[in-house]
Subunit: 412 residues, 2 copies
């Protein structure tokens, strides 16, 4: 981490110029579960905005509508409900449009300036009345307090067990700049019911096409390197709004300030990516797979992702059973060409580290020590390809009985 | 199924010209678990032979050795142990060579005529003494009785709960011809510990390159359409030996007899593919995903496989929870281009059928009836793409607590 970057409180309201709120509108039966969230650029100030979306061929109506609204690279508000995904319904677009229109009306802005998102059950019809009725109260609740940030983070959660909000401060052009975010995701990157959503705010002054580029580049090594169950959601979205209030000279090209901003964005996105993996459905452990010395960055990413996605690796970690052959096996079907006779495999955690494979062959190791290492909460799987200089990290979690329980009966 | 094809008893010894045996040699601690299998072409008669192997970049030493031995398209025997995979060890090739040499010596044949396979834990060293000591007894046990066929089927099992052996009889060139096989696989197609192995015998007279072609073609729509956990094994292998004793005019080109033979091979391979999926680790249900009216066969296969591999689909089936959105979602990330607004989804079982999606949108359905349909042991997922004429079927199973238990502590 760069020395001038520090984590701060406040989530999406930490950067200057943003208000947020989260309340219960009634889409969920449990009155204690907030289910409607809003982020608003103070006084309707125009923000540069960008987003990346799910690559799933089947995508939710909110994705279609938001993509359309962000064509001009501008936005003023985010509205998001949890409980129902508004996907695969005949009236999905109509409902997503209505959410934007109602939000715009209550905030006094244009509906094209609204980012809309939904997460929850696919194929269920979204009732618009509870949202419509709750919007005035949601607007009244808008605030830049720490509590408001937390409420917003909570309102977008589905099967998440922990809220995910982070903010960082760093120096840009001699000015203190901030990035904040909230996220949800649990049945992960690729979830279905439990879509991955992340809404980022920043007070950096930056033009929207450069903002889009930074977001796109950062996502390759953060959100796209997380996998809980390999199911790519229909509703995944990461959006970012930049208020420009921090006072820096506007970032308009890939210069030094762009790199500083991108690094800061990387750090906060890496933080939340780890958190999302750790909070994977039913997870008892965070797995971090580091592939070292691969021939290309692309190869390193593919290899790390293949390991983290393997059901056999995941169940082995759940059982703390040091079966290193499963690591070799999962590398082998990654689609990457490599020499198996060069690979070293090491397991590492707070209890120490142990090497299981050297030059592609199993080596003897202390089973008791291995069990202790794999019994910790955070496990690193280190794979040295010994052929190049590129590296990548992927995050995942173990596969537990609880994952099966949660997903065997999600809708009830 | 073609009318002239019928299932018969005997497994690998049903075709004329084959002997088989399975015994306990001591690689497994449990003396009641047979762990060494042999198939032998009577009197050392030369068979045309072919095989297909795992596509995993990391593959077992037996794969290397068998691939080398089958270069000339000829074989006389199969030897296979369960318990240890003989993969990712410094001395793997040496041990696989030794298994062939010892087998050849006891049978009085050349070691190049032996197909060798191993299944079990990766990275454990294979002790050769128990195999060496047991080979004379294994040779003495060789027989063409039904019992011998069964013993052989049992000896190659790992976490399989049911033995898999089938045989069929059909007419070729006016003669009764037979194909028999034994298979194992449980943590499937793509298993790691529980490799998929299948040894096929036939008494059809056919040249080895045409035999290889038939096997390759049939595998695309059978074994390659099975998935239990998406992990491609390091040791997967399907081999076939043809004794030529049924008396048909030798098949040497892609003519009518080739098609008859290929159809029969397809039928027996489809049968065992279904059985392997149904016996997937921890499976309580067989899932059959039929994709209809796709633009190409390749698309249909990819779509069906994507559905069958989805953890969210698998857990949903375990919980008998009719969450059709997960089907749409898994089609969407298959990598196939399609129009989501055309797709129909139907669930079908012995309790009836129910449509969940029409033209890509969810439709109302009877939840009680859906629960009943999904509570049966065999579930069909029927997906109509409505854009072309091609179809494919993939087989899989649900994801249960038991899968997690088996794989959380496989080695102990």
């Amino acid at each position: 981490m760069e020395s001038n970057i520090k984590f701060i409180d406040g989530g999406v309201v930490a950067p200057q110029g943003f208000l947020a709120a989260g309340i219960h509108c009634g889409l969920r039966k449990n009155k204690d579960k907030k289910d409607l969230a809003m982020i608003f650029s103070k006084n309707g100030r125009e923000c540069a905005a960008a987003a990346v979306y799910t690559t799933n061929k089947v995508f939710g109506a909110p994705i279609t509508v938001t993509r359309d609204h962000l064509k001009n690279g501008k936005a003023k508000a985010v509205v998001c409900n949890s409980g129902i995904a508004n996907t695969c319904n005949p009236d999905g677009i109509e409902k997503a449009d209505a959410m934007c229109k109602l939000t715009a009306d209550v905030l006094g802005i244009d509906e094209n300036d609204v980012i809309v998102a939904s997460t929850g059950v696919i194929g269920a019809v979204l009732p618009i009345e509870p949202i419509k009725n709750a919007l005035p109260a949601l607007k009244d609740a808008l605030s830049d307090t720490k509590q408001a940030g937390e409420d917003t983070a909570v309102a977008i959660m589905t099967t998440d067990t922990r809220k995910k909000e982070y903010a960082i401060e760093f120096e840009l052009d001699g000015k203190p700049a901030r990035i904040g975010l909230i996220a949800k995701g649990s049945g992960m990157i690729e979830p279905n019911m439990a879509t991955m959503l992340c809404f980022v705010t920043t007070d950096v002054d930056i033009c929207s096409d450069i903002l889009q580029l930074a977001l796109y580049e950062v996502i390759q090594d953060t959100f796209n390197m997380v996998s809980v169950d390999g199911d790519t959601s229909t509703n995944d979205m990461v959006s970012i709004m930049a208020s420009g209030l921090c006072g820096n000279k506007k970032v308009t090209e890939k210069d030094g300030d762009y790199t500083k901003f991108k690094n800061a964005l990387y750090i906060i996105c890496e933080k939340v990516s780890r958190a999302i993996a750790f909070d994977g459905e039913g997870a008892t452990k965070l797995l971090e797979c580091r592939v070292l010395n691969a021939n290309s960055r692309q190869d390193a990413r593919k290899l790390a992702r293949s390991v983290i996605k393997s059901s056999l690796v995941k169940t082995m970690m759940f059982g703390a059973d040091a079966n290193g052959g499963r690591i070799l096996c999962s590398l082998g079907y990654s689609g990457v060409d490599f020499d198996p006779k060069k690979i070293d495999v090491i397991f590492k955690s707070s209890a120490g580290e142990i090497q299981l494979y050297k030059n592609g062959d199993s080596i003897e190791f202390d089973e008791v020590k291995a069990k202790e290492i794999l019994s910790q909460e955070i496990i690193e799987i280190i794979i040295d390809m010994k052929t190049g200089k590129e590296f990548a990290t992927a995050w995942g979690c173990d596969l537990s009985y609880e994952y099966v329980r949660i997903n065997g009966d999600y809708r009830s």
